[in-house]
């Protein structure tokens, strides 16, 4: 029995056994194409359709959204999503593609939305019938998110949306978007309202999606232009002028600090290989020649690898401790560190991997001689997506300093 399983309550243990049995009985076919490293780098429909099919199966097997109420498309379980996640990871399954829906839209709609939204949108979100994206950032509103200028104007009983969103991951495939818009120009924080808006149905009409290219050469994020998109009032999430508070729920979940556990499974690329994982450096070092021996024989590199493994385990044990309130002094202290710490560890792990590889670290994805197909170097570049996205790590440090340590507000 794994450590995780030992502490399950009876109904959790039963659920874990169910997950395991289902995963063992239902192997996934090999992907028809190389999978990207994470959901926000999905470029092609062939990648999407394979992953979408996997998420649908996982949903139907009860492993996605299982803690949500039945009326929202869930299974009404308690504390079971984490178990499903552990089992999907253990089985080496690829990631779930609808990451922005699962991690952000779902908890926000569940907490602040109305019955129409919960009953009609969430089941399709969990099953991946609909792909979701997040329309928060704008050219002038990145770190200063409250500066959003995309307008939501009253129009009959509904609303009319006009404006420009940017860096919108998965918008090129999205059916729906969670949108933060300005409904009142006189007030900065009290002048925003939160909506769910249909994207795909309005493409070529009042919605335009223009892909942006990442430093890796991959696509995956986009600009989205709204030119008078009309939506009914029941697409509004929360009260008029309460958009900022609703958005806080989204952001808290985006940073891994919210009350709803995000359904998630493995990583991209080849799950057999520990790309971007500190433990993967052990094997890489053993195989990398260095000054006549291997990198694993070099005391300096051994020390640097050990530092990263310790940091990574510190963060993993932190995630565990965060679920034991008696061992935490402040409820948000560890959760608010999650994305900051994990993204920097990943960046440092990939950077060290490139050094360990030595000359071969110059090779890129697709080169026949690149260690692990060049996935480490790609992971290095993609790590900046994570240190910048979801509130940059500079902003995360401001938030931790201010909310947890009570330091003076920096703005």
């Amino acid at each position: 029995m794994s450590d995780q399983a030992k502490q399950d309550r009876p109904e959790q243990a039963e659920f874990r056994a169910q997950c395991r049995a289902w995963l063992a009985a239902n192997p996934l076919p090999e992907p028809p194409v190389r999978l990207p490293q994470s959901a926000i780098e999905i470029m092609h429909t062939a990648q999407l359709e394979y992953l979408r099919d996997w998420q649908r199966q996982a949903y139907e097997a009860g492993m996605v959204g299982c803690d949500y109420p039945v009326a929202s498309g869930g299974a009404g379980r308690r504390d079971c999503q984490l178990i499903a996640n552990q089992e999907m990871q253990r089985a080496g399954r690829p990631f779930l593609p609808n990451i922005l829906g699962l991690g952000m839209a779902a908890p926000t709609i569940q907490i602040h939305g109305n019955d129409f939204q919960r009953e009609n949108l969430l089941p399709r979100l969990f099953s991946c019938a609909d792909i979701w994206c997040q329309g928060f950032s704008e050219p002038g509103a990145g770190s200063d998110l409250a500066n959003v200028q995309t307008r939501a104007e009253r129009y009959g009983d509904g609303w009319r949306i006009t404006g420009h969103k940017v860096w919108t991951s998965l918008a090129h495939f999205a059916d729906w978007m969670i949108l933060l818009a300005r409904s009142d120009r006189a007030h900065k924080y009290e002048g925003m309202t939160y909506f769910v808006v249909p994207i795909k149905a309005n493409l070529g009409k009042t919605v335009t999606v223009r892909p942006l290219i990442k430093i890796t050469g991959e696509t995956g994020f986009n600009e989205v232009f709204f030119d008078g998109l009309e939506i009914p009032d029941h697409y509004r999430v929360g009260e008029i002028g309460q958009g900022w508070e609703v958005a806080q729920t989204t952001l808290l979940h985006e940073r891994g600090a919210g009350p709803w556990v995000t359904p998630s499974s493995g990583r991209g690329g080849d799950p057999e290989r520990n790309i971007a994982d500190a433990w993967g450096l052990l094997e890489l070092a053993r195989r990398s020649p260095r000054a006549g021996r291997t990198a694993a024989d070099d005391p300096v590199l051994r020390d640097r690898i050990m530092q990263l493994i310790i940091r990574q385990e510190g963060s993993r044990q932190g995630a565990r401790r965060a679920r034991v309130p008696a061992l935490c002094d402040h409820p948000q202290r560890i959760p608010l560190q999650a994305k900051l710490v994990m993204s920097e560890i990943r960046q440092d792990v990939c950077a060290l991997a490139m050094e360990l590889q030595g000359a071969a670290g110059t090779l890129s994805i697709g080169d026949a001689n690149a260690p692990e197909g060049g996935e480490w170097a790609l992971g290095y570049l993609n790590s900046y997506g994570v240190t910048i996205a979801a509130g940059t790590n500079e902003i995360q440090r401001n938030i931790l300093g201010e909310r947890v340590l009570g330091l003076a507000k920096s703005k």
Partner: protein
């Protein structure tokens, strides 16, 4: 021997450097660089070799390839600090060109005794391009590591991680012979030479591995006789490391200045982002790191001319400092540009990738420090 106080950086060197900087600003502004090297963003694209040969011909006319060639061989024979300063400008422009590879080959040739050496140096001064083919498949940077063999006047085997190979006309190849390592000049067009381009991260250069299928070598092509190759290469090595350090410094300065400019103009929370110490302090730390690296690079370059006995240690210092500063700047430049910095459109990634390549090339900072420690401890 001692170094001159001014690093040997005389008025000629200053003129050369200033002219080079202006020339590259005029001829290859950042937008032109981006058009030249980044037109295909597909991560699975075939290996590329995007450069501007017409620009290279102008560079040859400006005399950059004569700088390190001794006057006796038809060159200008300037102090090597001038070559370092040029390499810095090349890095600042992230210039895709055979400059660095040819300069490295020149530094090796300066140490060679073979009969053909002087002629080849003269040809390089006149614009012939060259590169080093000295690394084995394992990527080991040590002199002794070699996958190419010279046997009965024929070359068999391979050389890997050959820099700007597709731009080079001559390979300066390291080959193992029963009497020891030799250095051989091989035209890339020679029968039996097979160049296989690598897919690499850096868009501003090309790289290849080269197979030698029984390539015939005559005595005029022997630059360092079997047994003399290792000492020859070792003598040239501090210069080669110094060149890479200089490129890292130049590109690092571009990243620093470009990011500082962004921090002076991009506004969030009603202020320019440079107001925030989370941006300001790391940028200043980067400036300090780059200044150390640059000073150490000039020091190493000056030592090549004036105190060669210290050059091995000083070049290790320079490359170590420049590799760390280069990697740190590459990382902060993307981070401080936010979402824009993560896009292909923004030129920062071109420099970041060049920095990552040069950080690794011929050994990263901890590799250099390990070799330095061997020199300073004597073991």
């Amino acid at each position: 021997m001692t170094q001159p106080k001014d690093f040997g950086f005389d008025a000629d060197a200053a003129l050369l450097r200033d002219t080079a900087r202006q020339f590259l600003l005029d001829q290859l502004p950042t937008e032109a660089l981006h058009r030249l090297v980044a037109s295909d963003h597909d991560p699975h694209r075939a290996p590329t070799n995007n450069w501007n040969p017409a620009l290279w011909r102008q560079i040859v006319e400006l005399g950059w390839t004569t700088v390190a060639v001794p006057e006796t061989a038809g060159g200008a024979g300037l102090p090597l600090v001038a070559l370092a300063a040029l390499a810095e400008e090349v890095g600042r422009a992230a210039l895709p060109s055979p400059f660095l590879a040819t300069a490295a080959a020149t530094l090796v040739l300066r140490q060679c005794q073979g009969a053909g050496t002087r002629d080849l140096l003269g040809e390089i001064a006149a614009g012939r391009t060259a590169t080093l083919a000295i690394t084995p498949r394992s990527g080991a940077w040590e002199t002794a590591a070699c996958d190419l063999y010279l046997d009965n006047g024929k070359l068999h085997g391979s050389a890997w991680y050959v820099q700007d190979a597709a731009k080079a006309e001559v390979l300066i190849a390291k080959a193992a012979h029963r009497d020891g390592l030799a250095l051989v000049a091989v035209p890339v067009t020679a029968a039996g030479v097979e160049l296989v381009p690598d897919s690499i991260l850096d868009l501003t250069r090309d790289q290849a591995h080269v197979h030698f299928h029984g390539v015939a070598v005559d005595t005029a092509q022997i630059l360092a006789a079997p047994g003399a190759g290792a000492a020859t290469l070792d003598a040239a090595w501090p210069g080669v490391l110094t060149l890479v350090a200089a490129d890292l410094c130049g590109a690092g300065e571009w990243l620093l200045q470009t990011t500082a400019e962004y921090a002076r103009t991009r506004e969030q929370f009603g202020r320019t982002i440079g107001f925030f110490q989370a941006i300001k302090h790391p940028l200043v730390n980067l400036m300090i790191q780059l200044d150390h690296a640059r000073s150490l690079t000039y020091n190493a370059a000056c030592a090549l001319d004036h105190e060669p006995e210290r050059a091995p240690a000083l070049a290790r210092m320079a490359k170590a400092a420049a590799a760390d500063a280069g990697a740190f700047g590459a990382s902060r430049a993307i981070q401080f540009h936010g979402g824009i910095g993560f896009t292909w459109e923004c030129a920062v990634h071109l420099y970041t990738k060049r920095q990552k390549h040069n950080q690794i090339l011929y050994g990263d900072a901890s590799y250099q420090r390990a070799r330095l420690a061997e020199l300073l401890f004597g073991v």
